[in-house]
Symmetry: C2
C-alpha cells in the first residue's frame, strides 16, 4: 500500500537525477508534501521558470537566458571580445563556472555533457561530441577557424579516455588544430609528502 503511487512516480523521476538515490528521493517527496500549498506552488513555478526562461546555446550548449526567441548563442559565444579560435572542452557547466572565475581564460567553451566510460558514454545529460566535431568543421570553413582545443576534462580514467577519443576525432579532420590538456602537478597549497606517485611523476615530467 505504502508509499502511494504519486510518491512512487516522483521518486522514480527524481532518482534519475545525479547524486540522488531512491531513499533521498523518498525523503524529498515527504518533505515537499509537508510544505504549505504556497511553498509548493513556488516550487513548481520556479522549476517551470527554469525550463521556460533558459535555452541551450546552439554552439557550446551552455544554458543561457535569451533576450528574444531568435537568440541562439549564449553571452560567451556572442561576445566579440573573446577569442573564438580557442575552444575549451569541459564536461559540465560547473567546470566552466570554475574556469570563468579565474578570469584568465578568454576563449570560448564546449559543454560535453558526459564522459566515455569503457564502451559506453556516461548516462544522463546529452553527450555533445558529434556537435563539437560539426562546430569545428563549420568554423574551419569560416573566416575564423579554430586554432586550439583545450581538453579540460577531469584527470580520471573516464576523463582521460574521453580526451583520447576527442583528440583522435579532431586529428581525423586534418585541420591542423592544436590540441592541449590542462597541466598536471602538485595543486597549489598541496603537500609533496602526501602527493600520490602519479601526481608526483606528472609534476616532475612537467617541471620547468
Amino acid at each position: 500500500m505504502l508509499p502511494h503511487k504519486p510518491i512512487q512516480d516522483f521518486v522514480k523521476i527524481i532518482s534519475l537525477l545525479p547524486g540522488i538515490g531512491p531513499r533521498q528521493a523518498l525523503r524529498l517527496a515527504y518533505h515537499l508534501l509537508h510544505l504549505s500549498p504556497k511553498k509548493q506552488q513556488e516550487f513548481i513555478r520556479t522549476t517551470q521558470g527554469l525550463f521556460s526562461k533558459m535555452k541551450l546555446c546552439s554552439d557550446c550548449f551552455l544554458p543561457f537566458e535569451p533576450r528574444s526567441s531568435k537568440e541562439k548563442l549564449c553571452e560567451i559565444c556572442r561576445d566579440p571580445s573573446r577569442d573564438h579560435s580557442v575552444i575549451c572542452v569541459v564536461e559540465k557547466e560547473t567546470d566552466l563556472l570554475t574556469i570563468e572565475k579565474t578570469k584568465k581564460y578568454h576563449g570560448v567553451y564546449h559543454i560535453l555533457g558526459g564522459l566515455y566510460s569503457g564502451k559506453k558514454k556516461k548516462q544522463g545529460a546529452s553527450f555533445t561530441l558529434p556537435q563539437l566535431i560539426q562546430r569545428v568543421k563549420r568554423y574551419s570553413k569560416s573566416t575564423r577557424p579554430i586554432r586550439e582545443i583545450i581538453l579540460a576534462l577531469n584527470p580520471t580514467s573516464e576523463g582521460n579516455l574521453t580526451s583520447y577519443y576527442i583528440e583522435k576525432a579532431i586529428r581525423n579532420l586534418n585541420l591542423n588544430i592544436k590540441i592541449t590538456r590542462l597541466a598536471r602537478g602538485i595543486p597549489s597549497g598541496g603537500e609533496i609528502e602526501f602527493a600520490d606517485s602519479e601526481t608526483l611523476i606528472n609534476a616532475l615530467e612537467g617541471r620547468k
Copy 2:
C-alpha cells in the same frame, strides 16, 4: 553574470530541501536544463501530481491519496482493524514505513515532522507536537481513548530531548496514558566486541 537568475532562483529553493547543498542544487539545475522538453514537462507534471493527488491525514499527518475531497483520514487511521488506542510517535514517514514493514505493529501513528535540538525545534517540516496533544485530548473524550503512546524517535540526543518533552506534555494532561519507548540493546546481527559502552549498558539493564 553566471549562473543566470532562473538558475539562481532554482538553486535557492532546491537547497532548502534536506540533504541538498547549493553545489548539488546547481548541478541538478544544469542537468535538468539538458533534458528534452518532453522529459522536462514530465518532471513538472509528476511534481504537480504529487502535490495535487496527495493530502496530509488530519489525525496522524501521513500523506495519503484521498478517494474524495471529503476524506480526511489516511488508510491507517480509517482502518477499523487497527488498534486506535495506541499511537506510535515517529519523526518522519520513512520511520513509519520501516515499522510497517515488520507487520508486527497494529496501532496507529503520529508523524512529528521534526525534533527539538537544544532550544529550537529542527527546521524544515512542520512540527506537529501541538496537534498530537490536541488529538490525545480529543480522543480522551471519545469512546476510544488513548491507552498508550510509543515514542519511537531515534536514540540520539535530539530524539531523547524530544521524547522527554513529549512525555512531559502528555503527563501534564493527567489522562493516565502509558508512555513507552523502543527497547535499546545490541542490534540483531551486531557484535558485542564492537558495541559502544552506552549500547552495552542499555543491553545489560534491559536484560530479561
